[in-house]
């Protein structure tokens, strides 16, 4: 199928949709859902469950029923995701700003009433449930930016800089709040995925270049004036590690990274066998059921397992970006691509950290690491993508804030 575009303002050229030949387009019922994508997600979550089961077999390690809870959450998340997929995209569109401001309010509330866990004020306790408002913000920010660009680009040329200033505000306000918690990893992921949407919106290349330059220049300034001591320490550790530094550090971050490196490396091509990892079973790896779960996969299933997981994620992300490309309206495109970017950054940060290419920022591996709020966020995000796919031809309402 080919779309015939109207007077496209910049180029005026014809555009051929490469995804035109998808067979199940047009249906907006359950049959039109990207079941292949759902299958990939389920596969990933099951890998996570299996690895969590493995970590519970360590001496006194994690609680024994972690894997069951992970699986239950995924099950609930799956139902929620499919339900959300059925929600028409215009409703997502209408709710975008409400969700965004709601999440913003929660972030502010955390600042004043949040509870401190592990030295950071990230949790908001509402009755029996504790949530991390930074998690819903990941989806909310994408929605808000998608809606913003959807409307803004309809009015003015794409290369007008002022749209992007508003977009920058939308990104930086929550980013600043999360940074103050402090949660450097989430801040970075938020800014980066927001940046991707800005990039996709067509911001002029010269400006992108200028920002890139500014970014590079600001690194030492951020290090000196913005980062807290423990964050500086992580960066220092990382630099020490990169420069082949001291292996004798054993109590600091360097220890964690060195032990992770040993665990991953000792896995070899095919690993030590499921549940046979010595590094992880003997608890040399802290946080092995959350941020460092890749070490368990790499040690027990080897390069085959770790690279396999990476490839599954690559397939999921490509699928998401293809969905973005298939959307007929900007909102769906930006939302799907923004969610894909967020997930992509998570994976890059997580893997980069675990294999020692990036500083320890404390970012989980989506669907694989144990953690309730993150799981819900991810399932909601995929709900959004599936909805964008299912309702790719829906028309967004015009005007109004709601």
């Amino acid at each position: 199928m080919t779309y015939i575009h109207d007077a496209e303002r910049q180029s005026g050229r014809r555009y051929a949709n490469t995804q035109a030949s998808m067979s199940f387009m047009g249906s907006s019922g359950l049959g039109g859902l990207s079941w292949g994508l759902v299958a990939l997600l389920t596969m990933t979550a099951l890998i996570g469950t299996a690895m969590l089961y493995s970590t519970t077999q360590a001496g006194s390690g994690a609680e024994a029923d972690l894997w069951q809870r992970h699986l239950t959450r995924f099950g609930i998340g799956l139902v929620a995701m499919i339900s959300l997929a059925l929600v028409p995209l215009p409703i997502w569109f209408r709710l975008s700003y409400i969700v965004y401001f709601g999440a913003l309010v929660l972030l502010v509330a955390v600042e004043f009433a949040g509870s401190v866990r592990g030295g950071a004020q990230r949790w908001l306790e509402i009755g029996p449930i504790a949530i991390q408002p930074s998690e819903p913000m990941k989806v909310a920010l994408t929605l808000a930016l998608a809606r913003y660009y959807h409307s803004a680009l309809a009015k003015v040329p794409t290369d007008a800089v002022r749209h992007h200033l508003v977009a920058a505000m939308i990104i930086l306000v929550p980013a600043a709040l999360i940074f103050m918690q402090p949660d450097f990893g989430t801040t970075l992921a938020l800014v980066a995925s927001g940046g991707v949407i800005v990039f996709l919106s067509g911001l002029r290349k010269e400006i992108i270049g200028a920002f890139a330059l500014l970014g590079i220049v600001s690194v030492p300034l951020i290090y000196t004036f913005v980062l807290a001591d423990y964050q500086k320490e992580r960066v220092d550790t990382f630099i020490t590690q990169l420069s082949g530094g001291d292996e004798s550090q054993s109590l600091s971050e360097g220890y964690q990274i060195e032990q992770a490196r040993i665990a991953i490396g000792s896995g070899g091509l095919t690993g030590k066998g499921y549940m046979q990892g010595t590094q992880t079973k003997l608890e040399y790896i802290p946080e092995q059921h959350t941020d460092f779960i890749l070490t368990v996969i790499a040690e027990e299933l080897g390069f085959v397992g770790a690279a396999g997981l990476m490839l599954i994620w690559a397939a999921i992300l490509v699928w998401c970006l293809l969905i973005a490309g298939r959307c007929s309206e900007r909102f769906g495109r930006f939302a799907a691509a923004g969610v894909a970017a967020t997930l992509g950054f998570y994976i890059v940060f997580n893997v980069g950290m675990v294999i020692g290419l990036l500083p320890v920022v404390g970012v989980p591996m989506p669907l694989v690491s144990y953690g309730g709020t993150a799981m819900m966020t991810i399932m909601v995000a995929f709900g959004l993508i599936l909805s964008a796919d299912l309702h790719r031809d829906s028309r967004m309402p015009e005007g109004g804030l709601l």
């Binding site: 991953i264 490396g265 010595t278 590094q279 003997l282 790499a298 690279a307 970006l321 970017a341 005007g399």
Partner: protein, 686 residues
Amino acid sequence: MAADRRPSEVFVSRRNILFGAGALVWTGLLGRLAQLQLLDGEELREKAADNEVRFDLDPPSRGRILDRFGLPLADHRQAGRIAIIREQAGDMDTVLAEISKTVDLSPERREAITRRARNQAAFLQTEVARELTYEEFARLSIHAAQLPGVVVEIGDTRSYPRGRDFAHVLGYVARASQKDINALTLNALDLTTAERRLLDEIEYGEWDHHAAIDRAIRGDQTDIRRNQLANRWSDVASEVNRLYKHPDMRTGRSGVEATCNSWLTGTRGARAVVTNAAGRIIERVPDADRATVPGKDVALTIDSELQRAAINRFGDETGACVVIDVESGDVLALVSTPAFDPNDFVNGISQADYDLLRNNPDSPLYHKAFDGVYPPGSTFKMVVATAALEAGVVSPTERIRCNGRYRLGRRTWSCWKKEGHGPVNLHEALKGSCDTYFYEISRRTGVDKIADVARRFGFGRSWSHLGLTGGARGVVPDPAWKEANRGEPWQQGETLNYGIGQGFLTSTPLQLATMTAQLARGGRPSVPQMLGIGPQFSIERGEEATLDEEIIAMMQRGMYGVTSEGGGTALRSGDLGLGGPRMAGKTGTAQVRYISQAERRSGVIKNEDLERRLRDHALFVGYAPHDDPKLAISVIVEHGGSGSRAAGPVARDIMAEALRLDSRREPSWQRLAGRPSLGDAGSDRG
């Protein structure tokens, strides 16, 4: 606004850039993963194995100490102990209450155990009780299955089956203190003198950082060596520290246990265990174990039967006794009584019990035979006579008249026999122990000659190669000594006191025994030996030397007279029940208090009437058989009164027992060919 319902080209081209960037990043991540897992895999696998396998020190069992005939004097004994692992015990109080049904545990003790358990890692053992009786061990072993976190096991404990008999000889073992650990570390480092000096500098010296840098720039290696040494020290110290933290490990604190410590200790092995990051053992890997080399046994020259008999003979009396094999120098008995029980020290003695030992007026902690110094009294008269004959100031036949008193200047010295001995020659003077005769010949001989001969008899020296700790030298006084120690010139009157073994002169029971052995050997010095098998310590060179055989023969005849001829002071002590062969000897009485002139005039108070602590020490030295000397003995009975009545019979009975037991027969161990002799520079320091 229906303007834009199709994907813009901008979006698609930007998305494609995103695809490219993503592919690039993914390639990077996968590349790094491949580098770690496929290229560095081998090295990292080894590191992972290092991580898992830890070597736990396996303490060596301590060597035994045997007597002359292979009977164990210090042994290892298996003793049950019970420990608790907090992590598995759940409620400590419940479990301890359950244990206390079998083993008596006071509430304070239970509290102390709980506190100790809290202060260490939860998976480590905390000792609840040791030295379990057989019944306790059996009951608890059955019980332990039901009690969570309770470990009942057998540990290796040092035991001294002969108890008090060898307290001073063997010493005892104890848990290593920080001081012990430093000493053991120093020993293990085996430093050269220069390194020792450097180490002292590190410890005590002022360290000038800037000066050190300057030196390093000039190419001076001292500071580098110093650092290397400090590192070596801390490596070895941490290893020693780890080993001695083991509940079975002990270190020798005194006696043979201390001097032969490294011989007895052996070499530690290691047990390979797989541990988790917290250090808890997950499993054992027997194939990777390093073997433990148990400590070697030490064999002594002492006959434990004779030692026991000698101690029994002392009964309630306190004192010391040394029996030496005349030919070999083997120490066959080394008695100091009363003694402590070294078993009490193995697991640490309570302060109250220790105070009891320390405040006991009979000094059970004190090694009287080796550390105790006493005036030799009349047992010294053979030395004086030898000096006089050597100096030629008296002939054996010359008679000197004794009327009970000896006058020099304005002072008067008394003979023990108030009515006097009449005119006596050398033989009679020795036999009757005539003080007047010896006042005269010592005055003629002079202090320097007497001191010289005393040293040649082995007075004033200690024997550090025996394997004993401590060791008194005693004092062989001469004018130089007095000037140095008292700051006064020598008085001639003091030479007279010298003549009867009193005054500043002091000696140890061991010295008296070696002196006697030298007399029995016809004047050849006697080098005592106590270690049959064990480290060979070098013998300090002393001033002892061979004496004139003819003169010594005269001394022997005199000593025979003492025990066997009419007028002898120890006639009751000569008969060993052997028929012909008798014991030759010499009595001695060492004054503990000064007897004033007034007392002399009014009649000396009899010893029996004095408080015990003021009574004279009774001494006896002798050898037997008189015609073919095999054994030499010295006995001191503290506050025993007279040598002839208190010490002589003790010596006689012990000597008779030694001959009956044939204590000097060939030992069960093989005598080493290269046994050190006088002046040898041995090497192995224990």
